[in-house]
Symmetry: C2
Subunit: 266 residues, 2 copies
Amino acid sequence: MDSHFYKYIEPIIKPRVYWKGEIMERKLDHSSVIPLYHQLKELLKESIEKDGVKPGDKMPSENELCTQFNISRNTAKKAIEDLVQEGVLKRIKGKGTFIAKPKLEQSLTGFYSFSKVMQESGLESKDIMIDLKVVKPTTKVMRILQLHRNDKVIELKRLRCANNEPIILETSYIPERLVQGISTKDIQNSSLYDVMEKTFGIMVAKAKEVFEPILIQEYESKYLEVKEGYPALLLERIAFDTSETPVEFCHSVVRGDRCRFYTELI
Amino acid sequence: MDSHFYKYIEPIIKPRVYWKGEIMERKLDHSSVIPLYHQLKELLKESIEKDGVKPGDKMPSENELCTQFNISRNTAKKAIEDLVQEGVLKRIKGKGTFIAKPKLEQSLTGFYSFSKVMQESGLESKDIMIDLKVVKPTTKVMRILQLHRNDKVIELKRLRCANNEPIILETSYIPERLVQGISTKDIQNSSLYDVMEKTFGIMVAKAKEVFEPILIQEYESKYLEVKEGYPALLLERIAFDTSETPVEFCHSVVRGDRCRFYTELI
């Protein structure tokens, strides 16, 4: 188990010189072909990198940026909105815009379960159970899990949270015959794979994961507490048991403003 | 080298029964709480999976969908637009909407260079050179490449294409002193890492990659020929030589509608 799987990047704590530092001395190039909002974004990112700021430090208001850089409200708004989407800044309703916490880092080189990894990295993990029911599989799920026409699947939908912040909306499909009678109680205090192994004798030995960037949909935005159209990662996993039979198909939508992934290549 | 690194998923060739098949018999549930555009998307995806269609098969027009499913123009438009963003469908100006080619698949478990992989997988690879120049590094690039205050870097910006389709907008930063005098000619017919090794004696031995989902920006959309706001993957790589010194920082924007990534976990 890679203990770096889900971890906070250690923030560099420096004095809060950000908005008193040289950033406020700098100017945008109003005659450049590069759009002003893009210049402002780069300037802010460069300044965050250079001067060092703490997560939670407050940003100047849009008005202050307009005055400082002699730009329109729309230009300031677009730069800020982009940086919020990218997870560099965070908006808190009625309070303002702040430097966001560093993204959670997830390695793709090791096998994992969310709950175990959270436990190991000292973050408070919480799962919110959304739904657990028996359903008729879609054609895709049927093909992936190699099911027959009348086979049913368990659909388990959970919201995985780190320190009370929703991070992943996860839907697992498991052939019903493998986990007959599974209930929400079973999964309340153990990882799904632990329950599959200890209660139902199914050992997950291998998995294939496919992932691609997507946009947050209306449905997901309600659970993940980010706006529709924000960037996210779709992670689809097929888990196999020791005899290479597919035992789970898992469809996860991971917040892009809060997570990034890494891998080492040798 | 993993030969599956960039490959087309083999399309399943079936007769073009799509729009004559059962899809056109099905109906949307107008009384459901699930939005109609979402129902339509799922129905279309299910049908593509079930009936099998070939890349290049033409979609019914928005008008036909409106009539068939008794929905508004906006509902049909949103479903189609979402599927275009997801890379399931492809719009060709003045011609209509078509089933898209399967996404290029990229493994994250092996080391690679775009040109080598394309060559091995039988796709026609082409690089369009956008810019090669000596620049003052940003604070971020300076930190990553462990540069001193007055060090310069080579900035190499390329558009990587597969079968004439732009796929990746890639910007490499290399400390200038390591590749003094490098020219566009050097890279025209060889991979960058080959040139670094053969001409400059720098052997890339290891890399760390970080990736996160982002939205296509205006600047990138012009090169990658996708709309601003479409999903993409930002891939940042730090390459190290045999003595673990960072020798390259590479910033790649990968089209999300055309690529997906996979990894195997054991």
